[in-house]
Symmetry: C2
Subunit: 454 residues, 2 copies
Amino acid sequence: MTPAFAALAALLGDRFTTADAIRAEHAQSETHIAAGLPDAVAFPETTAEVSALLTIAHEHRLPVIGWGAGTSLEGHALAVQGGITVNFARMAQVLEVRAEDMLVRVQPGLTREALNTELRATGLFFPVDPGANASLGGMAATRASGTTAVRYGTMRDAVLGLEAVLADGTVIRTGTAAPKSASGYDLTALLVGSEGTLALITELTLRLQGQPEAVSAAVCTFADMAAAVDCVIETIQSGIAMARIEFLDPTAVAACNAYAGQSLPEAPLLLVEFHGSPAAVAEQAQRFGEIAAGHGSTGFRWADRAEDRAALWKMRHAAYPACLAAHPGATAVVTDVCVPISRLAEAVQETRAEIAASAIPGPILGHVGDGNFHAILLIAKDNPAEAAEAKRLAANMATRALRLGGTVTGEHGIGLGKLAYMQAEHGAGWAVMGAVKRALDPLGILNPGKLVPQ
Amino acid sequence: MTPAFAALAALLGDRFTTADAIRAEHAQSETHIAAGLPDAVAFPETTAEVSALLTIAHEHRLPVIGWGAGTSLEGHALAVQGGITVNFARMAQVLEVRAEDMLVRVQPGLTREALNTELRATGLFFPVDPGANASLGGMAATRASGTTAVRYGTMRDAVLGLEAVLADGTVIRTGTAAPKSASGYDLTALLVGSEGTLALITELTLRLQGQPEAVSAAVCTFADMAAAVDCVIETIQSGIAMARIEFLDPTAVAACNAYAGQSLPEAPLLLVEFHGSPAAVAEQAQRFGEIAAGHGSTGFRWADRAEDRAALWKMRHAAYPACLAAHPGATAVVTDVCVPISRLAEAVQETRAEIAASAIPGPILGHVGDGNFHAILLIAKDNPAEAAEAKRLAANMATRALRLGGTVTGEHGIGLGKLAYMQAEHGAGWAVMGAVKRALDPLGILNPGKLVPQ
C-alpha cells in the first residue's frame, strides 16, 4: 500500500477500500459509456473527512472523483485516470428544513425522491425532476433539470448556496439563506455544472416550492410532430404557466405502453400538467385545450386523479428503460440537445428524418417547453458499426443544435460524451474555463480528463 | 501624451479624451461616495474598438473601468487608481428582437427604459426594474434587481448570454439562445455581478416576459411595521404570485408625498401589484386582501387604472430623490441588506429602533418580497460626525444581515461601499474570487481596487 493509501485508510478505516468488486461498481455507467476503474473508493461521512481526504490526495497528486447515485448519462463520474472515487452514500441526510424560508439544507448523497419523502408533511416540495432518482449533489454538479424546469427552473435556479471542498482541502461556503444577493462573484453558479472539476460539494441549500393546491394533467395526440411542437410554442408564447410539457414520438409511446402496461395512442403525444389554485388550473387547462384544438389535437385525456397522474409520470420517467427493454440486449447513446423555441420544430423534424433514414432505432422525447429533446439511439452491445452510426447521428444533432443557436446539452452535462463539442460551442470561452480550473485546482486532481481543455 | 494615449487617440479619434470636464463627469456618484478621477475617457462604438482598447491598455498596464449610466449607488465605476473610463453611451442599440423566443440582443449602454420603449409593440417587456434608468450593461455587471424580482427574478435570471472582452482584448461569447444549458462552467453567471473586474460586457442576450393581460395594484396601510412585514411573509408562503410587493415606512411615505404631490397615508405601507389573466389577478388580489385584513390592514386603495399605477410606481421610484429633497443640502449613505424572509421582521425592527435612537434621519423602504430593504441615511455634506454616525448605522445593518443568515447587498453590489464586508460574508470564498480574478486578469487592469482581495 502506498503512503497515500495508508493515510486514507488511517483516516477512513474500512470506509476506504481497494476491493475489486467495489471499484468495478464505480466503473459502470447507465449508457454505452463505460471506462475508468478507480484505484480505490472512499465513503466519507463528514465534511471534515472530505477535506482531510482531499488534503492527502492533493499532497500525493491523486485524482479524486465525486460519485452520487451513478445515474449520469454521460460518464461524468468515471475515473478515466484512476484515483479515488468518493461515494457520498454516507452523506445523505436532510440537515435542516426551513419551511418559513422555503428552503432546505441537505447533504450531497441524498436523492431527490428521499428529500421529497421527507418534505411530505411540510406542504413544500423540491421541484427539479430529472426522472432518475439522482443524488442532489450530482444534480447540482451536472446542472440537471427535467420535466418541471419549464415552470420551476433547473438546478441553476434551485441551488441557493453550497458548502464545497476545494482541491487542497479548503472548505468554502457560497451563497446565503437570503433569496438574492449582489455580493461578489456568483461562486454558487460557478460550482453548479462544474462536474466535480472545481470542488466536491458537501452540502446544498435548496429552494423549495409550495405544493400546489390543485394539479391537473392531460395527454393529447397530434397528427404529426410539427403540430405538437407548434402547439408547445404557441402555449409558451401565450404565457400559460405550465408545470410540465413533455413530448413523446410514436416509437417512444409504444415502448412506454409495452413497459408500463399503458394504452396511450401511439401518435405524437404531449403530456402536460398545470399547478396552481383550482381556478387558475382550470383556466390554464381550458386555454391550453383551445390552443391544442387549434393545432388539430385529438385524443384528449385528463388525469385529474392523483393516482392517474402518478401512473402517467411514472410511465414518462421510465421511458429510458422502456426504450432499452423494447430492444433486448441493446445499449443506448442518449442525446440531449436544446435549441431556441423558435427552432424547435425544425430541429426535431430534421432529427426525426435523419434517424428514419438510418438503421438505428431512435425514439425521440423531450422537455419541449425548454426546447430540450432527446433521441435514444439504440445499438447492439459490442457492435462497432452500430456504435459508429449512432455516434454519427448524435454528432449531427449536436452540430445542428449549435447551428440553430442552441447547446449540445440541455441537462445531461458534458461528461465524456460531449467533451468533443466544447470548443465548437464555447470558442474562446472554453479556454477561460480552463483558466478558472487551473486557478482553483492547479494540480488538476479533481475529476481529471473532464470538462476543460486537456 | 504617453504612447498608450497616443495609440488610443489613434484608435478612437475625438472619442478618446483627457478633457478635464469630461473626466470630472466620470468621477461623480449618486451617493456620498465620490472619488477617482480617470486619466481619460473613451467612447467606443463597436466590440472591435473595445477589444483594441483593452489590447492597448493591457500592453501598457493601464486601469480600465466600464461606465454605463452612472446610477450605481456604491461607487462601482469610480476610477480609484486612475486609468481609462470606458463610457458605453455610443453602444446603446437594440441589436435584435426575437419575439418568438422571448429574448432580445442589446448593447450594454442601452437603458432599461429605452429597451422597454422599443419593445412596446411586441407584447413583451423587460422586467428587471431597479428604479433608476440604469444601463443594461451596468445592471448585469452589478447583478441588479428591484421591484419586480419577487416575480421575474434578478439580472442573474434575466441574462441568458453575454459577449464580453477580457483584459487582454480577447472577445468571448457566453450562453446560447436556448432556454437552458448544462454545457460547462456558467461563465454568464460568473460575469453577471463581477462589477467590471473580469471583463467588459459588449452585448447582452436578455430574457423578456409577456406583457400581462391584466394588472392590478393596491396600497394598504398597517398599524405597525411588524404587521406589514408579517403580511408579506404570509402572502409569500401562501404561494400568491405577486409581481411587486414594496414596503415604505412613514418617513419614506411623507417624503414621497411631498416630492410627488401625493396624499398617501403616512403609515407603514405596502404597495403590491399582480400580473396575469383577468381571473387570476382578481383571485390573487382577493386572497392578498384577506391576508392583509388578517394583519389589521386598513386604508386599502386599488389602482386599477393604468395611469394611477404609473403615478404610484413613479412615486416609488422617486423615493430616493424624494428623501434627499426632504433634507435640502443632504447627501445619503444608502444601505441594501437582504435577509431570509423568516428574519425580515426582526431585521427591519432592529434597524428602525437603532435609527430612531440616532440623530440621523433614515427612511426605510424595500423590496420586502425578497427580504431586501434599504435605509436611506441622510447626512449633511462635509459633516464628518454625521458621516461617521451614518457609517456606524450602515455597518450595524450589514453585520446584522450576516448574523441573520443574509447578505450585505441584495441588489446594489459591492463597489467601494461594501468592500470591507467581503471577508466577513464569504470567508475562504473571497480568496477563491481573488484566484478567479487573477486567472482572467493577471495584470489586474480591470476596475482595480474593487471586489476582490487587494
